[in-house]
Amino acid sequence: MGKTISEKIIGEHAGKEVSAGEIVIAKVDVTAVQDGTGPLAVQQLEKINLVQAKNPRRTIIFIDHAAPSPHKDLSNAHNILRRFSKETGAILSEIGEGVCHQRLVESHVDPGDILIGADSHTCTSGALGAFSTGMGSTDVAIGIALGKTWLRVPETFKINVTGKFNKGVYPKDLILYIIGKIGADGATYKALEFTGETIKNMSMSERFTLSNMAVEAGAKTGLIETDKTTKQYLEQQGRGEKFKVIKADDDAVYERVIEIDASELEPMISAPHTVDNTKTTGELKGTKVDQVFIGTCTNGRLDDLKIAASILEGKQRHHDTRLIVTPASRDIYLQALEAGYIATFIKAGAAVMAPGCGACVGVHQGILGDGEVCLATQNRNFKGRMGNTESLIYLSSPATAAASAIAGEIVDPREVL
């Protein structure tokens, strides 16, 4: 019987053939924590006298959620991580280097790896053909120390996407549509495999947007088979030799197959307060927006900034709408500077922030006021997500966000493209 990508990767790491539903102990290649979850992971290892990293060069400690620190307690928490990195040899990703998921795909995760990260959007690396999943501080702490974890081999939903996107419709609209269709808990405990000609024609950056949001349907990971696009990306990142063919068998067993025709999609928005509360941009047209936020591990990459800059070029943000732009990593920031996108944003009235998670997680750099509305390119719109339970968060593509920043209200990006 054929195997899914999850069954193949987990089997290889468990040293035996495995099938969906089995519980196994598997070797872990890469482990990661961030400044919200890492200090507790370190404290747990201290408590059981196990301050060690099994694979220090593949243990990555990120300071990205509250970076630079806005509070002395967080500065002290950051120092717990810096000390742990010095003691164990684990790699430290300092303030300004970028959001963990972006930095993991840029420099640390290879096809066929198992990555466990103490952050729910760890599923982003699934686009590289790695079994990557989010866990809590305790699981990842043990993974760091012992180089292994326990896993239940997930059943898989195959999401087959065909057809070409219409103008103004992007992978973000596709993934919001998918989550709206299957629901915020529709794929709980399952793996997603994105496949089909539309996926094959996507850049790596676009694929990361899809895999990033797998968890918003409850999924454990969002996998994409590797191909020449994966290979080119790894070569650009200086690790072409790490390329490996990762794909499901033709006769793999799927719990569910979902067919989507991309040519039928329209620009989508998730309305408050759940990601599966999706609507077309047209249904929400005219909704006043106080703040637009472009960035994050979902949509803070170079091509996202390129689309936003092309819309904002020579234009101004609406006088009642603030605009915050946060590139997802230092490399992206530098490339966007060289391409002139950052100058475009600043001239359009944006506040450009250092790479990090800040506004999206409600820690700093964009907390909303009572009754305010934010349109953001991030992956979550839960009540209180951006630091205030009395505010409303809508999610969209960078194109919809940029067009709406100019209009001061939600607009269909096709009107300005």
Partner: protein, 168 residues
């Protein structure tokens, strides 16, 4: 660990996210869990932290604990004294985290339970008695792996005790 639990129900709805349990705006309290616990679930029910008594139960709807991987969320529910969380379903990471910190999470039909109901729960027998309503509700058993981790008092304690995973 104690397998017979007794307390009253605090009812919450569907999709109680980790942002409602342990909000991002209190990020700076993440290394001070007893202090963070004074705010547990206050964004879902502002009075909850002061009303909840040791041994009480949090009763949710579907997809309880969706969102972030923060293990802080089940940890502060436990620190607040809650004996178990009952829900129709749990988000995956929260479920794993709850067991890892030694907080029993019970999957059952919670529709019949109202706020304030007195509950008697027998973890090993797998049943919940709603004493107020005079009804009995069963819950799905945990996977064996999770029972072993829970019995050892969580994952860190399990590894401390055995020096490695000992789940067979």
């Amino acid at each position: 660990m104690e397998t017979k639990l007794k307390g009253r129900s605090w009812k919450f709805g569907d999709d109680i996210s980790t942002d409602l349990i342990a909000p991002g705006r209190l990020f700076h309290l993440r290394t001070n869990l007893p202090e963070l616990a004074k705010h547990v679930l206050e964004d879902a029910d502002p009075g909850f932290p002061s009303k909840v008594n040791k041994g009480d139960f949090v009763v949710g709807g579907s997809n309880f604990g969706l969102g972030s991987s923060r293990v802080h969320a089940p940890t502060i529910i436990k620190i607040a004294g809650v004996g178990a969380v009952l829900a129709k379903s749990f988000a995956r990471i929260f479920y794993r985290n709850g067991i890892n910190v030694g907080l029993p999470l019970l999957i059952c039909d919670t529709d019949a339970i109202d706020e304030g109901d007195e509950l008697d729960i027998d973890l090993s027998a797998g049943n919940i008695k709603d004493v107020t309503k005079g009804i009995e509700i069963t819950f799905s058993p945990l996977p064996d792996v999770m029972i072993k981790i829970l019995q050892d008092g969580g994952l860190a304690a399990h590894i401390e005790k055995h020096g490695d995973f000992n789940l067979d």
